[in-house]
Amino acid sequence: MPGNPLPDAEQLLKALIEQMRPTVGPETGLIGIHTGGVWVAERLHQALKLKTPAAALDVSYYRDDYEARGLRRDVKRSEIPFEVDGRDLILVDDVLHTGRTIRAALNELFDYGRPASVKLATLVDRGGRELPIAAQFVGARVDVDARQSIDLERGAGGRLAFVLSARET
């Protein structure tokens, strides 16, 4: 909801599940982007009862800000437990902003093989795109002040919630 600073992540997740339900099938590959996207993908995978196991992607080695900011401290291993070639994939992230993370994810994905199609599902789209990237499944469009960062946190019992903080320059 525009103007509301802290959307309810659990509500948005429900909305996303219903948006995606008609599209997914037994061969659909769900790929969460570390770290928030992986949490969302796990919940989606569970709720949509998908057959193909969920995958996780860490895009640290494909980011375009390596020169400026160096390597992140907590790089995780990417795990894609299925064949990418010829498959319909859905990338899952928690927040869609400039689109650079998705660009990196696409580059990494294509090093694994040639998918039939790639869609994007995101819990929150905060606008501010710097690349021509769009999500097919969006929990909600939210306006966030440019000086702020909106991040997903996972609390007790796996409950997802958004927090706002000052943005790292």
Partner: protein, 317 residues
């Protein structure tokens, strides 16, 4: 010590700028390297674009095919351009000074030098003289340090043993001449290993080695009791010529790792060797090829460790 300057390996923000020795590196940098290396081990995607457009110069003043090859593979898997220079053969023999060689190479817009040299302290010397944005990785200097080997050994041990804080480890053989031994000792100490043993004859142990924080054993059977990790060091032929040892046979009898000596260690103890091995001198073939040996995995992990070091350093400004 009033002449002590700042740690030359770290930049002003305390990040890794050069990797010259494991001594004096904070634990969190070591953990970062080990954790980052994990992401490179057995991934389906062999090549990532992290170092694309960067040049890595392998500057080897001492020949080594295996180490140079692993650094080359590591750099290429990061999409870097790799240039191999066997300086031992070309310019040094023409009398070009080390400094001139380094200056010439710097002028070729290298981003990173991987240096192996026969003299202890040579990479430190090179790091002092290169332009501030060039990174230097020590691939082995004299008997001083082989930091990437130490790191890959730690990675290997963590892979099989998980936790350093309860390990009893032993390093056996020619510790005096071994840069691997020194690097391992520093790493074990920083990562919290409670008991580090060195085992060897007096002629092959350095003066005051206990001051590095190790327990000294001259009796291998005593030293191996209940040990979790055994590192066997390579014994070079020159040691017999320099009156440090009478023969390889006698060394093998008292300090070679055989099945029955290994049996004194814990039943799930692992055996490491930095390679190349002298089968029948410091280690029995049956042990080297046995189920407790992790010598081959060490090699695989070596590539991931070197990728981790390069990718962390190249991003630090």
């Amino acid at each position: 010590m009033w002449l002590n300057p700042a740690n030359p390996q770290l930049d002003k923000k305390g990040q890794l700028h050069h990797l010259l020795t494991l001594e004096g590196l904070p634990a969190d940098i070591l953990w970062q390297i080990l954790d980052t290396a994990k992401t490179f081990v057995s991934t389906r995607v062999k090549k990532v674009p992290l170092l694309r457009g960067k040049s890595v110069f392998n500057v080897f003043f001492e020949p080594s095919t295996r180490t140079r090859t692993t650094f080359e593979i590591a750099a290429k898997r990061l999409s870097a351009d790799v240039i191999n220079l066997n300086v031992s053969v070309s310019s040094q023999s023409k009398g070009e000074s080390l400094l001139d060689t380094v200056d010439n190479l710097s002028a070729m817009h290298a981003d990173m030098f991987v240096v192996r040299h026969g003299e202890s302290g040579a990479p430190h010397f090179i790091a002092r003289h290169v332009a501030p944005d060039i990174h230097v990785i020590n691939a082995g200097d004299g008997r001083h340090s082989h930091p990437t080997q130490g790191l890959l050994d730690m990675y290997t041990i963590r892979h099989y043993k998980k936790d350093f804080s309860s390990l009893r480890v032993a390093i056996v053989g020619d510790v005096l001449h071994s840069r691997v031994a020194r690097s391992q000792i520093h790493a074990f100490t920083t990562l919290g290993c409670p008991e580090i043993r060195v085992i060897g004859p007096k002629t092959l142990l350095p003066a005051h080695v206990e001051q590095l924080g190790v327990h000294v054993y001259h009796d291998m059977r005593q030293g191996l009791k209940d040990v979790d990790v055994v590192t066997m060091l390579r014994l070079q032929n020159e040691r017999m010529q320099g009156a440090l040892l009478p023969s390889a046979q006698e060394f093998y009898k008292y300090y070679g790792l055989t099945q029955d000596k290994l049996a004194l260690a814990k039943p799930d103890a692992i055996v490491l060797h930095p390679g190349p091995m002298n089968r029948g001198v410091e280690i029995d073939s049956s042990v080297a090829d046995g189920k407790q040996s992790v010598i081959l995995p060490q090699v695989t992990f070596g590539i991931a460790i070197r990728m981790a070091v390069m990718s962390i350093m190249a991003g630090n400004k």
